[in-house]
Amino acid sequence: MNINQELIERYHRDECTQEERKAVEDWLFADDSAEELDLPVGEDKAAHKAAIWNEIAPAPAKESITKSHSLSFWKGAVAASIVLGLLGLGFYQFTIKTKNDSPQFVSVDNTSAISVRHLDSKGYNISVGPNTLAKINYATGSVDLSGSMLISPKKDVELKFKGTDKKISLKGGQTYIILNGKTDEDKIIVVSERNLMDLPPVLQKQIINQFSI
């Protein structure tokens, strides 16, 4: 699908179809260095950023004074968010890195705050949640997780999660929700998707939204 300005504007207005939305998000989060913002040699990114900020800064103030400018404000806001979004691609490592160092080891660092990364690998289907680092060693069955993931093993397996002593049995063909926070106080939670309703509603809602289940 051709990603153009009109499509991005509609994406921001939440008017995209499922396909269009996916195309925009795939494009946005694609691990493609060609998407990096390349400035001519000698140009300073920070100076560009400051200039753009200066240009868009008065817009919200106008809106607060008079309602009749709201349409132009929204146009400005949409344009600004596109510019900032593109800048974001340049300034930050806003992409998801998937390393297949060896067939036995998969490391997924999903630094996106909204997007889920899906992997169909040897033995497992995995969806890695936003802001999640997952390292899976197939040889030893050990998993190091910080964040959230869904995992569907293709056959019955036992996995050992970093931070817990005992192995956890997962049944082939079933989907499991795995949560683990970034601090020591957060305990690892492994729950079958069929028992989603047994999780606290606050966590349920978060998982339903993140993984669109």
Partner: protein
């Protein structure tokens, strides 16, 4: 030409229709012996989660004895479309399909679930339901992006028509508070009481709840905000009542609801689980009434409360010494059932039942003054137990065997 002559002959047409009707009747009798039962409507429904992850709805006429294998006698469900957050009334099931954003009405026919009618329900996560009339279902919920805006829809359930909808003027979470929950809704004449609280997300797997129970009083059906009542004796009032019950009216219209700050709901475990009351005719909480469950002989948090008549209720409480955390809270059998005297505001005793598993379940119904309690024991099987409050007698009834892992809910199909 031959057809024309047939249609001209009225007698022949009548004969044809009669024989067609008769053969249809005979066909249904020979092919589907359960049809007569289906038309009469069965008395009870159970929602079963199987050991292999399959789910079933089993309808039956008696819970008193016998054995049912859901894989043989149940309607197998499409796990993608259905879940156990359902509303059951007068033989029909209502469920919100999240992906389709559609609320559907279903019936069980010939051992499968059939959609009767549907209505779009966009950007709506159901928190609580209340039947405000025989065919009028009031749903309260939250927006699905942030779970910050309280809203409602009123649906005519005969044809699944939308009667009204809108936002509720309940303040959105602000400051460090990130989302909210509606835990009960009660209508008294033209006043609607909505119990709610706010949450704070701490990490991807951790959150906590405000120390305050809020009750908004709204004009009904205008839904204008009249006042907000607050109480800090406990927090997380009620819960999502499509999954489990947390409140009821007694015979005299005193309204009772439970608060659940334990790890499975509010995750503010320093506050006690408790039972609050709004007296009949009153418009605010009874400030002199509170049953502190956590400081009673139960000495644990509780989730779920059912009225069994004559000022007695049964609550379901966890055993913190038997589970490690949320990861095994649902799979370990650690739940106990306690009998509560609401009038005396005290815990009477523990019912002599096996330890039960499943964090949240709709597991008690009352019929003819008997309480039917579904218990999932890890060692003694899945049974419906029958408690007689008059004689204090407790005995085993229907067994759910075969593929049954959890009896997730038990409902009456007719009043």
């Amino acid at each position: 030409m031959q057809e024309k002559t047939i249609y001209k002959s009225v007698k022949k047409v009548i004969l044809l229709l009669t024989s067609a009707t008769l053969s249809l009747f005979l066909y249904s009798c020979s092919q589907q012996p359960e049809t007569s039962n289906m038309l009469a409507g069965k008395n009870y429904s159970m929602y079963i989660l199987g050991k292999d992850g399959k789910e079933y709805i089993v309808e039956t006429n008696s819970l008193d004895s016998g054995k049912i294998l859901p894989e043989q006698q149940g309607a197998m469900l499409d796990a993608k479309a259905m879940d156990r957050d359902i509303i059951v009334k007068d033989g029909s099931y209502y469920h919100l399909n999240r992906k389709k954003a559609e609320l559907s009405k279903y019936n069980v026919q010939n051992d499968s679930l059939h959609t009767v009618a549907s209505i779009p329900l966009k950007d709506f996560s159901i928190e609580n339901y209340l039947w405000v009339g025989k065919d009028s279902l009031l749903l309260t919920g939250l927006d699905i992006k942030g779970f910050k805006q309280a809203k409602y829809v009123l649906i005519e359930t005969g044809k699944m028509d939308l009667l009204s909808s809108g936002s509720l003027a309940i303040p959105q979470p602000s400051g460090k508070l990130t989302s909210m929950s509606i835990g009960f809704v009660e209508l008294r004449k033209n006043h609607l009481f909505v119990g709610y609280t706010y949450h704070q997300q701490l990490s991807s797997s951790n959150y906590t709840t405000s120390d305050t129970t809020y009750i908004a009083e709204l004009g009904y059906p205008q839904m204008n905000l009249l006042k907000i009542d607050k109480d800090t004796r406990s927090t997380y009032p009620g819960g999502i009542n499509t999954v489990q019950s947390y409140s009821f009216n007694d015979e005299h219209n005193n309204y009772y609801f439970m608060s659940c700050p334990g790890i499975a709901l509010g995750n503010r475990p320093a506050l006690p689980s408790g039972i609050f009351r709004i007296k009949a005719g009153d418009e605010s909480l009874d400030k002199d009434y509170f049953i502190n469950i956590s400081s009673s002989l139960i000495n644990n948090h509780a989730y779920g409360m059912w009225y069994i008549g004559n000022n007695k209720a049964i609550i379901r409480s966890e055993r913190k010494d038997l589970f490690k955390g949320l990861g095994d809270h649902y799979s370990t059998a650690h739940f106990e059932f306690y009998l509560i005297d609401l009038a005396a505001a005290r815990v009477i005793k523990k019912l002599n039942l096996p330890l039960d598993k499943g964090t949240r379940r709709e597991c008690i119904i009352v019929k003819d003054n008997m309480a039917y309690i579904a218990v999932n024991s890890s060692t003694q099987g899945n049974f419906i137990w029958i408690y007689n409050p008059k004689t204090d007698d407790l005995k085993k009834g229907l067994e759910l065997a075969g593929n049954t892992d959890f009896i997730m809910r038990i409902d009456k199909l007719n009043p």
